[in-house]
Amino acid sequence: MHEILDVIFNINTFSAAIRISVPLVFAAIGGVFSERAGIINLGLEGMLLAGAFAGVLGSYLTGNPYIGVLFAIICGAFIGFIFALFTIKFEANHVVAGVGLNILLLGITTWLMQILWGSRGTSVNVTGLNEITIPVLSSIPVLGKLFGSHNILVYLMFIVVIISWIILFKTPFGLRLRVIGEHQEAADTLGIKIRKIQYTSLIFSGILCGLGGAYLSLGHLNWFSMNMSAGRGYMALAANIFGGWNPLGAFGASYLFAYTDALQMRMQALNLNVPNEIIQMIPYILTILVLAGAMIRSRPPAGLGKHYKTNR
């Protein structure tokens, strides 16, 4: 029993959870910005994947992983824009557009991989992101272990969580965005430039997913692998909902998924007398229990999924 408690409270578990959570957090907050703009985003999965691909491509072409990250950002922004174009301008059903985007991007990345690297499965290895050790912080006992040494995207993630929260709840942009997500017509009558804000928000969403993808391929590993997002986009969507369409909540939910996953990995190796599959289920069962039990009843943005047609 104490073995289990040991892993539950082990600092390493918490620290691993930070690493595991990064792509989820980026994508989940990407989800927040999209859905606060009223656009249901099932395309997170594809956006993550594309970001991962673009990151590796950038690093492959230039040898500089930071340029890879820049590629991922640009790619994310572009896909965010395309998604906005379809869901807003062409009034596509958001769910369909998201699913379509996922399939499209899976196909494109795999296809390009064959052209570029001659393999459907994995790209060549490229230069990944280095860990950065923060001098003072890393020598403090617990905090140092948790936050002392990560690559830049991990630190960026923490910044993004806080900045996103500030943007959403403290800036004019955020206030307008929240108005739009609830009631586009009302936003219109307030003289708010709905389209501009929606597009900006979705592009931002794409950029965040791009960063999440870049973390997978450049931060955590240093190559691209077919379909390497492996369902993280859907988990991120769940985290966005679970977290109440709030960046802090999305972070919390992502971290919970990641923590239970890290826990599950460690418990597998304990040779407990519990079937391995049951241990692997822990993250999923726990999520359901928390969601059903915690009575977190945040409402989705009232205008989510709706199209607003102007008569102009």
Binding site: I166, L175, E182, E185, L190, G191, I192, A302, N311
Partner: protein, 512 residues
Amino acid sequence: MNIIEFRSITKKFGDFIANDKIDLIIKKGEIHCLLGENGAGKTTLMNNLFGLYNPEEGEIFLREKPCKIDNPHKAIELGLGMIHQHFMLIDRLTTTENIIAGEEPLKNGLVDMKKAREQVKQISDNYHLAVKTDEKIENISVGEQQRVEILKVLYRKAEILIFDEPTAVLTPQEVNDLFTTLKELKARGKTIIFITHKLEETMNISDRVTVLRKGKVIGTVNTCDTSPKELARMMVGREVLLNVNKEKCNIGDNVLEVKDLSLTGKHNNLLLKNINISIRKGEIVGIAGVSGNGQLELEECIAGLRKVTSGTIIMNGEDITHIPTGIRRKRGLSHIPSDRLKRGLVSSYDLAKNIILGNQDSFTKNGFLQKKDINEYCKKVMEKFDVRCQSLNDTVDNLSGGNQQKLVIGRELSTDPKFILAAQPTRGVDVGAIEFIHNNLLEMRKKNKAILLISAELEELLSLADRILVIYEGEIVSKKNKYTKEELGLLMAGKKVPKGKMKELEERLRND
């Protein structure tokens, strides 16, 4: 100065012409009333002005210069402000947030909420428009919501204010307050366009009146040169009976009894407090009150859409307090809901599918819906209740508001109910339709049905109800057979009628 001039404005929706070559002049500093039936094109015209719609033809001159106003942002910059017919408020945001969104005071790039609050407070003091600055919209009354809407416009320093049917949801006292505000605005040099269906209000407040019918201008008159009768004729195109004929009826046994009904809300607040009502056969009992005082909750409790906290509801001698809605309907409840689009209709369904909503069981054989029966029945109801549409396969969202309401009423009155719960049955419908609906309700009364009429329209209550209960903050504060309008208004606003005044009022009643 002609502050606004519409020149031959035409707006179409598909083939339907909502505004047909409208010419209209608004003078600076006047209160100009726009009058017209449902669907006459009033809102559409104003939306053209406010940049929400772009007209197909015509020009708008602002301050005697041609202006292309192609979005609300531009309209606001030009000093226009609009208080919309359907409130444009975000329930989950605070009043202040609602007011400042789009034009936020800044501090270091962030929204300066402190300053925002101060500014809102300042304007609200200045114009006597009291609002709680940090309360969420979902927690404030409709009257206060409207004040927020006005503040939104004033905050944006509008010079020209458009009010689209602002009085539909207000008590007489609130209407008076609003009119005071309007006069004050006018005194400070603002120009006001005021849309309403109500002739009396028009006579009261406006300097000039323009009547629209079927998308066309019928005429503009000076208010001092006209009369309600004339305006009504201009609106409808025929003489309208402004009063209903109510015959005496035989009142029978108790049909519905509500005993000590109480309801507490989420935060343990009392929404309804010891409500007692009894309604007999052949009787219309009215519930008067400003919306937001528990009418909706009462309606939902009686309909079985909400669990009561304590108390009993008895229908035809049977305790139905804990019986689900469906069974209540089978035992003879009919319900005209206050929000027809939210509750009473499924807007994506066609007419036939809507006509069986709530009666689906009676049109089912072995689990299958009987299409033929339904269509026949639907046709019959539509004929009887004059629901105008192109075909039974039309979806309801293609019907005009008045026709939608007639559909609901037709459905609910055709099932041979024992008890009719009619909530705001004429909300937002025009004079002609009101007349029709009132006659149908009286018809039901004549057939010995028991009717509970929940309404915010005093005229409606006074002319239809046999008895009126006034509800205020979840409590029945008064129960009488006869009231004057003033008295009702005071009671609805939670004010006691002063002793001396009471005598005078009773005197007047006797003389009536």
